[in-house]
């Protein structure tokens, strides 16, 4: 498998994982920012957990859940007739779980910074909740949401620990940039490894730079 196809695969899976996370992540961030509900603290903790848990531990939990005998894996097999673990789906799953906290935390802060008065006024002008969200809350929180999304994407691109457990490291099937760097080093292909490290560094640099600039310009606004 060429470096180019590994890079394309990794970026594609990270983009897919971000696309899947966005609706749920934004809905959850909004619920955390704007509503009080029972179990909120528990959900908040669960979402943040992958940030602090060793990625390998998260990977093992996911392996149990998404394996064919696990709750998620067996349901998925019944519904779609295919497996999650050791396929590209497991790559997306690991990336999503590991990157989700970045999206939710940044989006939550961004939603909290939107003056609730503006939302109340929009309602009094006759807007329903969906219109308030899409025309007031989301546009005003856009910088934080985009910044959080880009950082989540960068985290997904770099994911290693959870991915190697649930997706394995199958060349041409589940090998991402991080996994390919690892196997290249194992096999003594230092030049290939170095090239991928360079690519990963460029992607990470660009993502963090762009993401942070979105987040800091938001903070700088009066």
């Amino acid at each position: 498998m060429t470096s180019a196809s590994i890079i394309a695969f990794t970026v594609g899976m990270a983009a897919l994982s971000l696309g899947l996370s966005l609706p749920f992540g934004l809905a959850l961030a909004w619920l955390l920012a704007r509503r009080r509900w029972p179990g909120k603290t528990v959900v908040e903790t669960l979402v943040t957990l992958p940030l602090v848990l060793p990625p390998v531990a998260t990977g093992m939990i996911l392996l149990r859940l998404a394996g064919r005998r696990g709750a998620l894996g067996s349901l998925f097999h019944r519904l779609f007739g295919s497996d999650i673990v050791f396929t590209w789906r497991a790559v997306v799953l690991a990336m999503t779980v590991m990157a989700f906290p970045f999206l939710v935390r940044h989006a939550r802060v961004a939603f909290e910074e939107v003056n609730p008065r503006l939302e109340q006024v929009a309602r009094s002008l006759g807007a329903n909740e969906a219109r308030v969200f899409f025309t007031i809350t989301l546009p005003l929180a856009a910088r934080g949401v985009v910044g959080g999304g880009i950082l989540a994407f960068a985290r997904a691109v770099g994911e290693f620990g959870a991915t190697i457990l649930v997706a394995g490291n199958i060349p041409g099937k589940t090998a991402t940039i991080s996994l390919a760097i690892y196997s290249d080093l194992q096999l003594g292909r230092d030049a290939e490894a170095a090239r991928l490290v360079g690519v990963a560094a460029v992607i990470a640099f660009l993502a963090v730079w762009v993401g942070e600039s979105f987040l800091s310009r938001r903070r700088a606004r009066p």
Binding site: N115, R117, L118, Q120, V121, A122, R123, S124, L125, G126, A127, N128, R131, T135, I136, P139, L140
Partner: protein
Amino acid sequence: MTVALSRVRLALPAFTLEVDGELARGWTGLVGPSGAGKTSLLELIAGFRRPDAGSIAIHGVPVFDSEERVDVSARSRGVGYVTQDDTLFPHLPVRGNLAYGHHASKGSPADFDRIVSLLSLAPLLGRPVTALSGGEKRRVALARALLSRPRLLLLDEPLTGLDPASRDQVIASLRSIRATVPTPTIYVAHNPGEVLALCDEAIELEGGRMIRRGVPRAIFEGDRDPRLPG
């Protein structure tokens, strides 16, 4: 009666707001020292806040009743609220702000043009709201509320924080609204002069209770603000 409040209670940090009575025959001025509960009362009527107990009806329709478990959302109360702070949507130009409520109320283009010319906003339509002066912002906020075709208008100190020139502009706008738009209005005033100039009735609130009400002139005799022509 426009707004009927029956044993409305709301516990606030410093005191408990307890209001009972009817409001808004034409323009009602609400006065009282700062922290008397004037803004909180408007928030209860607009549906931004929920009273601890009591009932509120607008034009005879209950919008809140703690016993009957009625709580109509702010969206469906038909109340236009111009708040004290700047609540124009900063990401929309003047036109977008004005269209926001107009669109939801299915108002006609003729209505739009009428309100825009009433408040002399035509030259501002394309501008970002962040580029407006204080007085212009208030006028846009007034027009935006009117364009949602409210059954009741709540104005919270629309003159506060303005320089004298902007103040005069906004007073002229308020006078035009009063002369041409029949919507009953509750006006929280910063000083008695505003109530004398604009309102049919005045209600004084102190420590969360209505302590006096009557014709403005009777309430503020000898208490007129020389800056406002009667």
